[in-house]
Subunit: 431 residues, 4 copies
């Protein structure tokens, strides 16, 4: 069974509220593609990324495949081809269409994909506005909405990567932040956390993905953790100190990656005539020293921490620290998608940036929690099968929806990947 009891309990909203939420989230996706043309939405710049149009269709496919088709009698697929084309990785539903070739699907065209969204939305509306759903089905709708929100974030990071290839360096939006050189980065303070046995994982009061459960205890030793993310200015010092040329700072696989790819600076950074710039969703912008350094991969994060004489936190340390240093209204204040900043912001005083701004690499491998079992049905391919070779990240980013993130949320990427909004929070042992 996919849906854990904890999840079911969480469904305290009425069905009417769920319908409202459905409309809001589905609408948000369409709002996000508003600045994009049909041609933009076709782009796939690497196998890890997908075209915007594909995101629009795949999220819809999820509702059609897991909710409408099994639950509506005589449901007729919008288009049988879509079943194959927009399956991401559910092998139990047939061999998915080749991932690196998603950018070659000019057909169905954008218009048809919007029609697909409309048709599925209408059926979902009928379902949600109608008789009471089973808890299981309701949980699947909630899962589908969280799934859609994950793709909202991917849609933005994927189009950012695609635009970065184009020498014209297109801007996703024309919002141009002021040059805030005046803003000082808040000093980095060290939060001290005492050793102990801490509860980890979903609290059971809200929706969570299966990978956040079962909740369990972890033993932690005394540690300290930084009060904010590492800034561009700090990362520049690492570069200027020869960080990218000193093998002793790097993990073995990291050094191999760096040498094979001839890397000597973060993805999206450019140096033009003695000044640093970075490509952003608002086009090429001068690098702001106080802002958090972003689009770093795990190898870079780890090498920086080694250079700084620190280390990365484990995901358990992160979760405990984030909960202990919980701030009032932090979700509302955090730099998440709704702020429409599309970039991490310099921490002002008092802000800890645990939520929003950047996904934070942890030293933990992304592995199942004790007692984890994936669901036996198709949705069971959601998380479990990726629990190998990836690192856990925490905290959400400037393009994560606010009602999608929480302290127990576990994201995961391969150590070499840097196209997500990812950054560094340092930690250290206490002697």
């Amino acid at each position: 069974m996919l849906v854990h009891e904890a999840d079911i309990k969480a469904q305290t909203e009425t069905q009417a509220e769920l319908l409202t939420r459905y409309r809001r989230i589905r609408g948000e996706t369409e709002q996000l593609v508003d600045p994009l043309s049909a041609e933009d939405m076709q782009l796939q710049s690497m196998p890890d990324a997908s075209p915007s149009k594909w995101h629009l269709a795949h999220t819809t496919w999820f509702f059609e495949t897991f909710i409408l088709q099994p639950n509506l009698p005589d449901y007729r697929l919008f288009d049988p081809d879509y079943h194959h084309l927009f399956n991401s990785y559910y092998n139990s539903l047939g061999t998915p269409f080749s991932r690196p070739q998603r950018g070659l699907l000019s057909r169905p065209d954008l218009h048809s994909v919007f029609a697909y969204r409309g048709a599925v939305d209408r059926q979902m509306n009928w379902l949600l506005a109608g008789q009471s759903l089973s808890p299981n089905l309701e949980a699947l709708v909630v899962l589908g909405l969280n799934h859609e929100q994950q793709h909202q974030e991917l849609l933005l990071t994927d189009i950012k990567h695609a635009f970065s290839i184009n020498p014209v360096l297109p801007a996703y939006t024309d919002y141009s932040p002021e040059d805030d050189d005046s803003v000082d980065t808040a000093d980095m303070r060290w939060l001290q956390i005492p050793s102990g046995e801490y509860a980890i994982g979903s609290d059971g009061d809200h929706f969570c993905f299966d990978n956040e459960s079962p909740p369990h205890w972890q033993l932690l030793q005394d540690f300290q953790i930084a009060s904010r993310l590492v800034s561009n200015g700090e990362y520049l010092e690492f570069i200027q100190d020869g960080g990218y040329r000193e093998p002793r700072l790097w993990l073995s696989d990291g050094w191999a990656w760096l040498q094979q790819q001839h890397v000597d600076k973060p993805l999206y950074w450019q140096r033009r005539e003695d000044r640093w710039y970075q490509f952003t969703l608002t086009g090429l912008q001068p690098l702001q020293d106080p802002e958090p350094a972003c689009h770093l991969n795990f190898y870079e994060a780890d090498a920086y921490a080694t250079w700084a004489g620190k280390r990365l936190p484990t995901e358990f340390e992160w979760e405990v620290a984030a909960c202990l240093h919980h701030q009032p209204d932090q979700l509302a204040k955090a730099n998440l998608l709704e702020k429409r900043q599309f970039r991490p912001l310099a921490a002002d005083h008092g802000q800890t940036q645990f939520l929003g701004d950047l996904w934070e690499w942890t030293s933990s491998a992304y592995l199942p929690y004790p007692g984890f079992r994936a669901s036996a049905d198709a949705v069971g391919e959601y998380n479990g099968k990726f629990m190998c070779n990836q690192k856990a990240l925490r905290g959400g980013s400037c393009v994560t929806p606010a009602d999608h993130i929480r302290m127990s949320y576990r994201n995961f990427f391969y150590p070499h990947q840097s196209w997500q909004f990812t950054g560094i929070r340092l930690a250290g042992d206490l002697l």
Copy 2:
């Protein structure tokens, strides 16, 4: 000097006629993309192919770069970025934009590319309608038009390849040929050509590319050459006889290609429940036995010829045979682009298919003719630098414009390439 004297002589048309031709050819390109959406025109399915939108822009770039910019005083580039983005391979004009990433240029959008075409067309119109051009400049315009026609053909073969990746198998046009099982293939006859010293290359009366000159003499021995192309039915016999499994039939590099790519049939052929189909510009169609076998690469052509106890003709043999067996009105009758068949047709009796239907692989390497010298200026990169590792092909195809092809025309592709409309004409020695 790019333009050979022979070429200049050929310019017997008035400038007014040239302007008419300019409009016709530029208009033809735009007509060819009529069935395509902006999303379709974005597709690049492999590094060898380019998006339709890129073809539209690059052909325009050619006129702007080689004609407008150097010849119009104070000419202002339509967009300075385009100079880089739509340069194909002219290293002397700066490093071209990475070829395999042309499909990632959602910007400029299609609308802007059409605007680019319009702006350049208006300036070209002004130039051609105005005072008398120098012979050199006029020759460059003619070169630009022939260049545009080359890209008309590529545009069609490239979109065919891109559509073939999509499981939906879109049709470029909905023209659906009748099932002409009734049509018998004309018998294959053997044309006998006596040994002798033959003139090869441009006759100097018409435009030609630099690679067709200088005209010169070649000694040929007695040979015979087939009266038509090899048909699907004949090629099927080769397959059914185990042709793709017998290494002795293949060139060493061909066998390596076949094994690495796991090839056992031509590109675009599919077998579904005991019947053969091929993907065409009109979608998936049942394979017609009498039609010429197409989308074969050189390795397949050579292996078939070996299996058949024959060989491929040299490009000189081909040119001599095609000229000697010249038929009245053959250009008008040939299956070329204007026929809008978009596929090769079965040879009816008396037809030799030297022009149109399919490009014919020759056994000749694509090499310079004796005395060939490439131009020293930028346009000199047009042909000469490709004279290595490729094979010469002759005769044009069903998507070659009629006023673009001639007996001396030399096309060239790598032996492993099969996305062009390419086929086989057999030849043999006389003992």
Copy 3:
């Protein structure tokens, strides 16, 4: 500082005893290459493996580089070129010679490498037989000996892989085990381990690598663990049930590996006319059902466990279970290198196989223990920089020296690697 206090304490042996150990271990290495020719010792069949000759030289390089050179006044290198050629991965000592090209070092020849060993051994003898060493230096000698033992195991697994490529399928030794079909595999029992807080890591009484420390506590939940390794017969059932064809059994990266490499059986298994064989260090041998299934990679181990409705143990669960089910004389009885079996043996009744036979994949990522810090000097590159992307394995194998293995020993390999003697022990949750 490289050497942890715990290690220093462990040096209870006298210097004379250490010298005896030095001679024994160095002699064992040379005995292991006895069946090999100079040509055999040149072989490198993949980048992960090294030639036997290189192992002979590199282990010697370790003593020369870390002990003789810094500690003997006016020490003169045996050959300055060797400093570069036989450096494995210590970037702080200069760029090592390209790993995948180690097989191209015909010079120095085998004779010179033995001369190198002799020269270093004489100097080490002088050092160890002489005045009292500092604890640090003594610890480095012990480290060098453990390092040599690691390479003894690698030498055997590497030559096994190299021989497996040769169609002649050479045997490393001619010892031919009897066909022990009569031997029944002991039944698989389930050892129950109660939840609790358990001490993990080196006990401080013996030598350990830095990755086994600091010792620390881990919380474990109730679990059960199998009393023996999975056998060939059991693994065959997985194959016959279509295990290699069912994506739902596999981790996502595992399924990708399987498809790219076209894997449908374990490395070294062959099917010949309805009978299964496996390539061993004694040549090709019929597969014995009761023997442990070996040369499985992590993906195969995980898929098998999923198919069996179980899971792999964490490395902490493994260590606790192995300590709790400690058997009298188990080191002496275990199937380790000294037994010269060169293959895992069927578990007889009462045997748990925690030590010897096969390295056992755990579900744990190979990561630093809380508070771990790598040494700042060159030897600090020993373990820490590999703590990414690899899995922890436990227990030693049939080619691990008996005085090299212990319950806290952590080995590590990438999930796709299978050329080591690796196998499966199942575990499960208690509900």
Copy 4:
């Protein structure tokens, strides 16, 4: 039929003379490996090259497979495994052992390979010393000896490449040429050749490979050709003029090769502190300006010729010029294998270097001569199947046996290959 009539006529030597020749050539091969150890003879540094031991065995396999096995009644193979292991590329004899893995065959060991040679030699001796052979069989023996001589050259170029990878830079022989700075290069003169119809190919009086026939006529235009090879000093000027940085000098595929491989100098050249060196069969040696520039590939040869305002000759021009400028005793004087120089020598006055010193790239593709037909039996795979994608080279090198080379001899390599002793002779058109 493999053996052309021309070849059979050539067999004017008695069978006794043939036996003497057999012994001499087979002995020469063994003499060439004299400076090499068993470990050296195991080396394979790239797929294009083979281990010396493999050359020793494969040349023997040729005699066993094509002569002994089919012609001696009840002949028993020396070792049935060898039939597979030492087959190079004769697919009609079964799938050959994987070429890139030849270096992994430590077994059979060198001793066994010499025993193989001895056993086959004794049987060959018996055959040749016995009753009269059929012309066909005699021709096959001659082919086998020429085949062995080809491998003598490859053996030397392959071991040179393998040694070049080893940082120790071993010398094959210790012969160390004097620093002959005093020797001036002879001036480059231009030999004028008038246009005409020239006979090309084997003269029928000597053995030739099938690719040198049928003899036929070629029309040549007036041309000029250099009186000697391009020297190191001249090639250095090309480098210093930025030749490796100017795309306009290069063929398109050549520029792509140069960029992908980051090439900026010839293979085996090194610059150490303002002085140029090259790796040779006598170890690293200072570059001598007057000596011919060697180990250039076709792309480099073509780019140099373009830079020099010249071109490469066609293979027909080369053959005609070499025959017309035939010098008395040139074979005896030429720098061929028997001179044991192992490097090209500066041309002294009057020498044309057509034979020996370096293989000379021609602009011709390696293609069949008119009327060429490969043999239908296994030996027919000898030459014909390689007639694609390669360039023709002429003239032999400093490691070609003197009785193996002739004016009509056609060698062939891929344009990117440079591990053979290859160099440049310029040619030009006459206006």
